[in-house]
């Protein structure tokens, strides 16, 4: 997205040929895009498609796919740069991080990441990237400007979840096999604490006020809420959906609203997103989305929540105010990561 | 089959248009011949009795006159309008009381009457006025809001008569209206309808098998096994059959003992 004079947004099309239905959608959007882009504001959704090795670009207002960008091998975790002009992509099988320029939708550089990067998180200073290396039981810290590895921190087996406190001082990384959430001081790179959670923790997410860390346990079927200061589990949220086997409830992605009132948890093969009262830690309702819902992302104003549904190959859009699923948009195969700008 | 000279003891015959003119009507149900070349007329102010045993074809004839089914042969005219060619005009001038009670048991008397009025395109105000008049005439005014289910047989019949007259028809057809009623109720209804005939100039066709309902000054149509055996003033019919009373005449004509 280029911000022209007077702050009007112009969206240049990549002109890439797309086949079939998506081609028609693309052509239609092309017609509306020029006119619509001005009105559309700047809400764009980026989705990494694990098997297709592409990034899908969705217009946040029209809810249609506007572009599909080929990237490296097995793209999983994705993050926006602090100024939101670039997208960092974990190309797991290529063993590096790719940087996508969002204006031109072209890969401009690659960064070292350590082997098999899955998920990462950006320090508030916008320069340090903390990458979980799944196969090597490591967290690699990268300096973005210099493009070099600053440190390599050994952690538990199969690290995945990466949660950074709002002040950037504490990094929480989950270890899938040892069922731990490790608290790491980002200044010293020392593990200051390890908290036991339920089986196969996947995602660690801090609340905006930095008071709690929510950790989802995929096999355990629960979400543990850890007090960030005392580092004790204060609450364990369980899920129950009538008619769904409890083994199918596998919490993965977690997102909490900025005001700390609502939390959303993706429940994997249960095909639902749980809506939780984050103050009382009580589940309010379950929203039906596509199959094997994985990760979640809010729109900047938190009016919409987007989910990636791995098996059904689509992204579901949830109206946060009404708590209703509005639409499901087809993207590539096995959509994994999702960010919204 | 005596062609009768239309002679009326009371009212003079109004200009030749018959209220009901049945000409050469035959009707079959599959193989069974229900009516054979039936012909007769009823004029305004006449009280005509359609006399016949059960199975003679009275109800079939009524069904044809009221256009429940079409007559395939002959013609039926109501005040000149052929029932087949101008059914709307014809039906608007008939009021019918069927042998089978056709009133809604679950509705009130006035609801039933208002329904009938609506079917004839009457406004609600006109219906309300007529309702009062007709029920008043039959001494049923206080029962207007009662559910019909709670009325006795005689009262229900009276309601049906009031209903049939709501739209002011000039021809009233009644098919065995007194069946199942006690003597007092029967007489009351008979008197009432005769009075209407006399005072309003209504033409009435009263179908029955009860010979004692035939009055001395009535017109009578003797129907037997689908055929009209005699038609005319009662006195003429009796004379024509070479009998002394209507009962004798009936027995002679039909060759059966009718009671």
């Amino acid at each position: 997205m280029i911000r022209g004079k007077r702050g009007r947004v112009v969206e240049p099309m990549t002109g890439r040929r797309l086949g079939g239905a998506r081609g028609l959608v693309f052509a239609a959007v092309l017609g509306f895009g020029i006119a619509g882009a001005q009105a559309a504001g700047a809400v764009t959704v980026y989705v990494s498609n694990e098997k297709d090795n592409t990034i899908s670009v969705i217009d946040g207002e029209t809810l249609k796919v506007t572009a599909t960008v080929p990237v490296g091998q097995r793209p999983r975790g994705i993050i926006l740069s602090r100024d939101k002009t670039r997208l960092y992509i974990c190309a797991s099988d290529s063993n590096h991080i790719e940087v996508l320029d969002l204006a031109t939708l072209k890969i401009t550089r690659t960064l070292p990441s350590g082997p098999d990067p899955e998920l990462f998180v950006l320090h508030p200073d916008g320069n340090r990237l903390y990458v979980a290396n799944e196969d090597d039981n490591m967290v690699t810290v990268i300096d973005l400007e210099k493009g070099t590895v600053i440190a390599e921190v050994p952690v538990g087996v199969e690290p995945e979840g990466m949660g950074l406190s709002p002040d950037g001082k504490i990094l929480v990384t989950t270890s899938e096999t040892t069922n731990m959430a490790h608290f790491i001081d980002t200044g010293t790179y020392k593990v200051v604490d390890s908290v036991l959670v339920d089986t196969r923790p996947r995602v660690a997410e801090f609340t905006r006020d930095g008071k709690y860390v929510w950790v989802s346990s995929e096999i355990g079927g629960t979400v543990s809420v850890i007090d960030a200061r005392t580092r004790k589990v204060v609450e364990k949220i369980t899920f129950g959906i009538a008619g769904i086997r409890s083994e199918a409830i596998q919490p993965v992605g977690v997102r909490i609203t900025g005001d700390g009132k609502l939390a959303f948890v993706a429940l994997g093969p249960a095909n639902r997103v749980a809506v939780i009262d984050a103050e009382r830690f009580a589940v309010r309702k379950y929203l039906l989305v596509g199959q094997r819902v994985w990760q979640l992302a809010f729109s900047p104003d938190e009016s919409k929540l987007f989910t990636t549904n791995g098996v059904s190959k689509d992204v579901s859009v949830i109206d946060v105010k009404r708590l209703k699923v509005v639409k499901s948009i087809t993207v590539g195969r096995f959509p994994w990561g999702i960010v919204v700008k | 089959m005596t062609p009768a000279a239309p002679a009326q003891a009371t009212e003079p015959v109004a200009d030749g248009v018959a209220a009901l003119a049945v000409e050469g009507v035959s009707h079959s149900f599959g193989a069974r011949r229900a009516l054979e070349n039936v012909a007769f007329t009823v004029h305004p102010g006449e009280f005509a009795v359609l006399l016949g045993l059960n199975g003679a074809g009275k109800t079939t004839l009524f069904s044809l006159v009221t256009r429940l089914y079409h007559n395939r042969s002959g013609a039926i005219r109501i005040f000149g309008s052929d029932v087949r060619k101008k059914p709307s005009r014809a039906l608007a001038q008939i009021g019918v009381v069927f042998q089978q009670p056709t009133i809604d048991l679950d509705l009130s008397v006035s609801q039933n009457l208002r329904y009938h009025a609506a079917l004839h395109g009457m406004s609600r105000r006109a219906a309300a006025e007529r309702l009062e008049v007709e029920l008043g005439r039959l001494d049923m005014a206080e029962r207007a809001d009662d559910k019909v289910r709670r009325l006795s047989g005689g009262q229900r019949r009276r309601v049906e008569i009031a209903r049939a007259l709501m739209h002011g028809p000039r021809l009233l057809l009644l098919d065995e209206p007194t069946v199942g009623l006690d003597i007092r109720a029967r007489q009351a209804i008979l008197d009432h309808v005769r009075r209407l005939c006399r005072e309003e100039g209504l033409a009435v066709l009263w179908a029955t098998h009860l010979i004692d309902e035939v009055g001395g000054h009535d017109r009578v149509v003797v129907l037997h096994e689908g055929r009209v055996l005699a038609f005319g003033g009662v006195a003429d019919v009796i004379r024509g059959a070479g009998a002394a009373t209507i009962i004798e005449a009936f027995t002679t004509l039909t060759g059966k003992d009718g009671t």
Binding site: I241 | N54, T59, L68, S88, F98, Y115, A117, A118
Partner: protein
């Protein structure tokens, strides 16, 4: 007979149907309980997502309860149409049909008024059902409830006309139950009410063809789209054509000339 007379007649017939319906409170409760039982008890056993595809007019995955709701709306109207049919057979046996038929207004108009009165009653039942369903979060966009109305009128007319046609064919009240079994259950089950047609196609092409031929399927699809403010053109036209066919046959059935009433005859008298 002018237009005013026609309108008064329509009002009279509608009022009578409404009064009869209100007096039979049990009928209203039954009409409401039936689809609710299907919705909450039957659908509860089928809580999985409906296959992998998103079915238009829905834009995302919907729960089974949401999917069968249009079918249940159709069920209400189907039963109502059959109930009207039963009333007509009853009226004919009890005699009140004659009161209707000796009206000077044209017979096709009288029968159409009866049809409209029945549709009005069914529409009341449908909205009552939708209000209850909405309390359980099975709802549609607000304007959907409004755009549903024309679809309800059309499908109600079609099913009512079917009922009327059946009533002209059924000789006696006792035979009614048997005929209904041959009509209601096949119509309801061989349709897109309980399962989307593409799923049926997967298992049996013959069954799929039967369902696609069934006018009830099209009534349900028309309702489904209307509930989301969309028009399913093909289904709507199919319903319209079926309505014309059924109504035409029904009027033929009640016609005094060719009439089946004539052929069956009356009690001898």
């Amino acid at each position: 007979m002018t237009a005013v007379h026609y309108l008064r007649c329509l009002r009279g017939i509608v009022v009578r149907e409404a009064l009869r319906f209100l007096h039979q409170r049990g009928r209203f409760i039954a009409a409401l309980v039936r689809p609710l039982v299907w919705l909450f008890i039957f659908a509860a056993g089928f809580r999985s997502v409906l296959g992998v595809s998103i079915i238009p007019p829905y834009e995302t995955y919907v729960l089974y309860e949401v999917y069968i709701t249009p079918g249940l709306i159709g069920m209400i109207q189907l039963f109502n149409g059959m109930q009207s049919s039963l009333s007509m057979v009853y009226d004919r046996e009890m005699g009140s049909m004659k009161t209707l038929l000796v009206s000077p207004l044209p017979r096709w108009y009288l029968l159409t008024c009866k049809l409209l009165a029945g549709v009005a009653v069914s529409i009341l039942q449908v909205y009552a059902f939708l209000i209850v369903a909405a309390f359980w979060e099975i709802d549609a966009p607000v304007w959907g409830y409004v755009s549903l109305l024309p679809a309800l009128v059309l499908s109600g007319l079609m099913l009512g006309a079917l009922g009327m046609l059946l009533s002209s064919v059924i000789k006696q009240l006792e035979n009614f139950a048997g005929v209904m079994n041959f009509v209601i259950f096949p119509m309801f089950f061989a349709s897109s009410t309980l399962y989307p047609l593409w799923k049926i196609k997967e298992s049996s092409l013959l069954l799929y063809n039967i369902c696609a031929f069934n006018p009830f399927t099209h009534a349900v699809e028309m309702i489904r789209f209307a509930l989301y403010g969309q028009v399913n053109t093909f289904s709507s036209l199919y319903v319209l054509a079926s309505l014309a066919l059924f109504l035409g046959l029904a009027i033929y059935g009640y016609d005094p000339g060719r009439g089946l009433i004539a052929r069956r005859g009356e009690p001898a008298g």
